[in-house]
């Protein structure tokens, strides 16, 4: 679960990492009053779960509450990479002497948390990694032994931080970032930029904070930060039904069980000359209700012209899926033709159930490839 900048900064603050004072606003008027209460110069920052908001004009400096209101009016409603801005963060403006980069990531390959630190912050860190890799200090932490003071020293000296005041502050931030990472079950904590103000104070000016969904039960406060509005309506609906759904641009609606098989189905549709309309994983829910739920998620998409059920029974039983399809057809109006391919546990029984019922507009295919070709054909390609 990705957090907004302001939410990540709230967690930073709780763990003692210095951030600027700020307030959230959802209307221009709130932005004005926030700026008013903060006093002095403020920055109006679009809150979106995507990068690139600076270039898109989603971050603006305001000299006065009036100007903050004005900027907020421009930024609220703005579309940044497909994300509509619904909230802005009004924050005290900072003077920036230096911009560093500090992150702590879950390194899946090494199976250890990984710190990355460079004095070349504020820019695209992938470019730093690519062009001047020697400028990027990296360091793994053993999760059992935990963070030791030397980790911070190694990062600081490798990155060439020589000013004792900075060394001390950044070492403390490294320690607190690790504590936050572990305490909050984070997958990523990124500070870009980590700034040094002219008078030497070090502060997190931005925040990227991702928390492990599987661990949210331990963090009800973080779980409450989830903003359902940040996701497209149909994905939200799917989430409520326990179905994994991602909208795509094509015409063939796809339902399958298991992410790998569904991805493979998408690929096979493409190979057959079609375009998948969605990614939809039934998960373990191959029973009648699960099938109905999934169909309710994908059929409202006006682009869908045919539907492909690709199910390989394991725990999921094909006879249940077949029954689920029939139930769904009984309960709802489905205009599009449906192609069904069943294999694995109780596939014969499942096919028999469908053959016995023989609903109109339902086509049973023997193999994944033939099913894909048929679905593409029925979509009108």
């Amino acid at each position: 679960m990705d957090l907004y900048e302001y939410q990540g900064k709230e967690l930073f603050r709780r763990h003692g990492i210095p951030v600027s004072a700020g307030r959230l606003a959802t209307t221009p008027e709130e932005a004005r009053s926030a700026a008013d209460s903060l006093g002095s110069e403020v920055v109006v920052k679009a809150q979106v779960l995507t990068g690139g908001r600076g270039k898109a004009g989603g971050i603006k400096l305001a000299d006065s509450p009036q100007e903050a209101e004005h900027h907020a009016r421009e930024i609220l409603g703005m579309d940044i990479r497909g994300h509509v801005v619904k909230k802005v963060w009004i924050e005290e403006a900072s003077e920036i002497a230096k911009e560093y980069y500090l992150s702590l990531t879950f390194d899946r390959g090494a199976k250890k948390p990984l710190f990355m630190f460079t004095t070349q912050g504020g820019v695209d860190i992938e470019e730093v990694a690519d062009k001047t890799p020697e400028a990027l200090a990296k360091l793994h932490v053993d999760p059992l032994a935990g963070l030791q003071p030397y980790h911070a020293r190694r990062l600081l000296f490798a990155a060439g931080i020589e000013e004792p005041g900075e060394q001390k502050q950044i070492a403390a931030i490294v320690e607190k970032l690790y504590a936050a990472f572990v305490a909050e079950d984070a997958m990523l904590c990124e500070i870009n930029p980590l700034i040094v103000e002219p008078h030497g104070r070090v502060k997190a000016l931005d925040s990227k904070f991702t928390v492990d969904d599987n661990a949210l039960y331990r963090h009800p406060d973080v779980a409450e930060m989830r903003d359902l509005d940040a996701y497209p309506a149909e994905e939200r609906a799917a989430r409520e039904k326990g179905v994994t759904y991602v909208k795509l641009d094509g015409e063939v609606g796809i339902l399958g069980n298991g992410a790998g098989l569904v991805m493979s189905t998408l690929d096979v549709i493409a190979q057959a000359g079609g375009r998948p309309a969605n990614f939809c994983d039934l998960g373990g829910g191959g029973d009648a209700q699960g099938v109905v739920d999934a169909l309710e998620v994908i059929t409202p998409d006006p682009q869908v012209r045919s539907i492909l059920f690709n199910v390989f029974g394991g725990i999921t039983r094909c006879d249940e899926v077949a029954q689920g399809i029939l139930d769904a057809l009984g309960r709802m109006e489905i205009a599009q033709p449906i192609v069904v391919r069943l294999d694995g546990t109780n596939a014969d029984e499942g096919r028999q159930i469908l053959a016995d019922a023989s609903p109109p507009n339902l086509h049973v295919e023997e193999t994944m490839l033939s099913a894909a070709r048929r679905a593409v054909e029925l979509a009108g390609h």
Binding site: D2, G51, S103, T105, F106, R108, G109, K111, K112, P113, L114, M116, D124, I125, E126, A129, L136, D142, P143, L144, V182, D185, M187, L188, E190, T210, D212, N214, A215, Y217, R218, V246, L248, G256, N257, G258, A259, G260, L261, M263, S264, L266, D267, V268, I269, A270, Q271, P276, F279, F312, G313, G314, I315, T316, D343, G344, T345, T367, M368, L369
Partner: protein, 292 residues
């Protein structure tokens, strides 16, 4: 022989009195796996379809010489179950449970792996050595005894490929689902290494997906350390980009993580990559035929 599980496997099922635990323990036993014990704290002394239940894994090991554990306990208790199994002397732990917090597994992994333990999963379908033992939820009837090893990040996709192989008359030595969680107990390389050492395996099918760089690392391993042929499949050419791990993720792996990048990395090292499950099976048939 075979790998991970075989005729010498003596299985203890942790969480055996749960709905799924009892169902699959019974099913694994029916397949012929030596399911010697179950563990549910407080239910010691009971039995599940003739499988004796113990309060602790230590108790189960003492009484039954169990050497392999299958973990079916709920996610929030799963890490504890794995520690318990390892400290009780279990040498292979297969964790089916999904939804285990990544930080829990991070600590488990770093504790368990240096001890030489084979850890498979979590969030995986388990391991099946056809004709020998089935530990997990893989539907054994799809597979057949033979000499092709199969390792996969995905569940149903594995079944699909196994199904296609079996249909062509190609049996399998062992099928291992490694799972797709952020921390997996065994990576592709860990399992490839075991297949390379297994005299009953003559070719390996590796089934990967978009994301991460484990397939790229496996490509290097295959080129440098494997004598046996490997056929690969990568799912997700058409997949939506999905969530990224921020910028840091790509820097760590130095890989785009796309299916195309993985395919190219594998092909650059001489691994044949099928474009769909049917073609993968055909490539295996050609290779096995060529070797026969």
């Amino acid at each position: 022989m075979a790998i991970v599980v075989d005729r010498d496997t003596r299985l203890v099922v942790q969480g055996i009195t749960g709905r799924e635990g009892s169902f699959h323990a019974t099913r694994n036993k029916a397949y012929g796996t030596q399911v010697v014990a179950g563990v549910t704290p407080g239910k010691g002394g009971l039995d599940v379809e003739g499988i004796p239940v113990f309060d602790t894994v230590t108790g189960a090991v003492a009484e039954t010489d169990a050497n392999t554990a299958m973990v079916f306990v709920p996610a929030r208790f799963a890490a504890d179950a794995i520690y318990e199994a390892v400290d009780a002397g279990i040498r292979t732990v297969i964790t089916i449970t999904e939804g285990i917090p990544a930080h829990d597994m991070l600590r488990v992994y770093n504790y368990v792996r240096p001890r030489g333990i084979t850890l498979v999963g979590p969030n995986c379908p388990g391991a099946l050595s056809p004709g020998k033992a089935n530990v997990g939820i893989i539907p054994a009837e799809i597979f057949a005894e033979g000499r092709v090893g199969l390792v996969s990040r995905s569940g149903t996709l594995t079944y699909q490929i196994g199904h296609e192989l079996t249909r062509l008359g190609i049996g399998q030595s062992t099928i291992v689902g490694i799972g797709g969680d952020p921390v997996v107990g065994s990576s592709f390389i860990d399992i490839l290494e075991k297949f390379e050492a297994d005299p009953e395996t003559e070719l390996v099918v590796m089934v990967g997906e978009i994301g991460g760089d484990e397939e790229e690392k496996a490509a290097v391993f295959i080129a440098e350390r494997m004598s046996k042929p490997v056929v690969a499949y990568i799912a997700g050419f058409t997949a939506p980009p999905g969530k990224t791990m921020g910028h840091a993720g790509a820097i760590i792996s130095g890989s785009a993580g796309t299916a195309q990048a993985k395919k190219e990395a594998l092909e650059a090292r001489g691994v044949r990559v099928g474009t769909n499950p049917t073609e993968v099976a055909q490539l295996v048939a050609d290779a096995v035929g060529a070797r026969a």
